[in-house]
Amino acid sequence: MSGPTTAVKQKQAAHPSGDNRFRILEATMKRHQHQPAALIEVLHKAQELFGYLSDDLLLNIAHSLKLPPSRVYGVATFYHFFTLAPQGEHTCVVCLGTACYVKGAAALLAAIEREAGVKAGGTTADNRLSLLTARCLGACGIAPAVVFDGTVAGQQTPETALERVKGWLEDGTR
């Protein structure tokens, strides 16, 4: 790895906000010796901890890695994996890989969009569900595939997918 930016030892005191997640994030940066090259690893960790990358969080990371905020923002927005907006309580990711596409993923997505009343990439107004799409999960053998809250389900039909999603949506309606 290239010359580490002279590793300034940072104090490992509790974060002023009292939020333990910042300490975990700081520990990750420390493990990478605060090298700018670790930016993507750090962003992965931050998103895992906080669910999304808020502006404050990005500034915090830029400061710790001694990078201009523009660079951090640039990287965070370049990669699809990173999200800068909070997600709903549940997530539903429809795979739009070629195998899923050939087997009707577009109809699947359209059905869920209709049911939830949001477009792909959006979150319902009651914050119950985020509907996302994936380029390819590599689960082509069980196409079409949908990920419900992190669990992959294969051979989906609009009916089976709606059943899962409906449950989440109905819970949320008063």
Binding site: Y79, R135, C140, I142
Partner: protein, 535 residues
């Protein structure tokens, strides 16, 4: 670690084994259909039947027929059980114990002489579905790390490169660059530090070969990388894996930890002066990072944008140092070449395309899953014999190879042998190995539009032909699909394709027009039918 120790580990592992082994597929496909519970039920049923001394259950990597998972294979007789559920699992044990009364519902069996399995030739996947990917001992028992020992103790780096060159191995990422030549270039390049990078950023939608290899046999990749590092003079490696593959990442991380513990990675490996470390870098969802210069930028923590070549990464790669970048499957071929010799490898496959190729067979096909066949096999054999045709028996219309960079091959050309040159000749590419079968219901214009939309979204925006060209081509294709385009639009689309292909900076833009060009070439009537005639 000494060779004797390695052999002792292998022997202990062999002794632990029971006469009958039930191999349960624990790859991502089967896991998503509840394979873990199936495995637990099998273990429970063995205990209940008192067969603990005779039968063992082993979690293994991909058993390949992904569409019919969860899969369980009986060793030694080779029978597969398909679509096993927690309910039907006990019947498998009852059948083994001979106590099957025929009343309990039993899962369907598939014999190993089924063409899907019988026509395959496992080289890359030889351990897949056999070893437990989460236990290094299981890999060592299958002869693992002996090739590395042999290389470190009995071969010079030049001899290793010579062996790889003579084997005729070509890069499995898609372009087919001779691997030996690449290694020789990195070895010759001067630099204080050198790096070895494993490209596991399998971004082609519809391809899952690298995921399966990483999930099924991660040590094979580490051993291949270590041999490469010795040959080119590198001490640090990076495995760049897609963020979409959490299981592959977890198993590779585990494999690295285990290999370190045994001294098979780290300092003074096998008591030689050779040091080698591997770190994982997790991709963050950018197709362009499969391009090697973009991948390097990503490992350096930057936006994944490519840069002009030369200089090639072999001369100036990571942090300006000579860097060897090979695909997962390429690294997986190294161990068998060292073990069996380059002549053995070059004897497999086609003249200029030695060895086997792993394909992910998916789409409208009966037997969906992972196959490994010798190069030069015809598409017809793959689609009809191994794949079993379409699920409903209707004719296959085309096969798409190479993802967004490849092309659609019509059924009339199915006698084309699958090798780098033949596929290029008919306007497609080998690609990394995704093979999507399409039937009469699939509109080729829709497919072309699908891939163009993909490339438009994934264009990194650095060079204008790709950034602007993909948007314009996508608009024209949308217009055609909507039935609003005329002949002039089609002509403009064709011109744009050629321009973007000729002038883009990297492979993404250069190959983005391929799906359009190949469908225009083989299915012009589908475009024509959508045009409005304007006098």
């Amino acid at each position: 670690m000494e060779l004797a120790e390695l052999r002792a580990i292998a022997e202990r592992e062999q002794q632990r084994r029971k006469p009958i082994c039930l191999r349960c597929c624990m790859a991502a496909g089967c896991l998503s259909s509840d394979a873990r519970t199936v495995k637990e039920r099998l273990e429970q049923a063995i205990a209940e039947a008192g067969l603990q001394d005779k039968v063992e259950v082993r979690g293994v990597g991909c058993l390949r027929l992904c569409s019919q998972g969860p899969l369980v294979q009986v060793d030694p007789d080779g029978t597969y059980y398909a679509n096993v559920t927690p309910e039907t699992a006990p019947a498998v044990i009852a059948a083994l114990a001979g106590s099957g009364d025929g009343e309990a519902p039993a899962p369907r069996t598939i014999e190993p002489d089924h063409p899907f399995f019988a026509r395959q030739m496992p080289v890359v996947l030889e351990n897949s579905g056999r070893v437990d990917p989460e236990r290094i001992e299981s890999y060592i028992a299958a002869g693992g790390y002996q090739a590395l020992y042999h290389v470190l103790h009995e071969m010079t780096p030049a001899e290793v490169i010579d062996a790889i060159t003579r084997s005729g191995l070509r890069g499995r990422g898609g372009a087919g660059y001779p691997t030996g030549l690449k290694w020789a270039t990195v070895a010759k390049a001067s630099g204080e530090r050198k790096f070895v990078v494993c490209n596991g950023d399998e971004g082609d939608p519809g391809a899952f070969m690298d995921r399966s290899v990483l999930e099924s046999d991660p040590h094979r990749i580490l051993e291949g990388m270590a041999i490469a590092a010795y040959a080119v003079g590198a001490t640090q490696g990076y495995a760049y894996v897609r963020g979409e593959y959490p299981l592959a990442i977890r198993r590779l991380e585990l494999a690295i930890r285990q290999a370190k513990r045994y001294g098979l990675l780290g300092s003074q490996i096998f008591d030689t002066a050779f040091d080698f470390r591997v770190d994982i870098r997790i991709g963050a969802g950018a197709f362009v990072c499969g391009e090697e210069t973009a991948l390097i930028a990503s490992i350096e923590g930057q936006r994944g944008t490519p840069r002009p070549r030369p200089p090639y990464p072999a001369q100036r790669g990571l942090w300006g140092c000579p860097t060897l970048i090979n695909n997962v499957e390429t690294f997986a071929n190294i161990v068998p070449i060292i073990r069996n010799g380059p002549e053995w490898f070059s004897g497999i496959g086609a003249a200029k395309s030695a060895g086997t190729k792993v394909f992910a067979l998916a789409g409208k096909i009966r037997n969906t899953g992972l196959i490994e066949v010798p190069m030069g096999m015809t598409l017809r054999t793959i689609v009809e014999d191994l794949g079993g045709g379409t699920p409903d028996g209707t004719p296959v219309k085309a096969v798409q190879t190479g993802g967004p960079s490849g092309g659609c091959i019509p059924a009339t050309l199915f006698d084309t042998p699958v090798d780098y040159e033949s596929l290029a000749q008919i306007g497609s590419i080998m690609g990394s190995g995704g093979m999507i079968v399409m039937d009469e219901q699939t509109s080729m214009v829709d497919v072309a539009h699908y891939f163009m939309e993909f490339c438009m979204d994934e264009s990194c925006g650095k060079c204008i032909p790709c950034r602007v060209g993909t948007v314009q081509m996508e608009r024209l294709l949308s217009k055609i699909r909507a039935g609003q385009a005329d002949r002039e639009d089609l002509e403009r689309l064709r011109e744009l394709c050629l321009m973007v292909k000729a002038t883009s900076l990297c492979g993404l833009g250069q190959s983005a027009p391929n799906p359009v060009l190949s469908t225009l070439r083989y299915f012009p009537e589908e475009y024509e039918a959508l045009l409005v005639s304007r006098q």
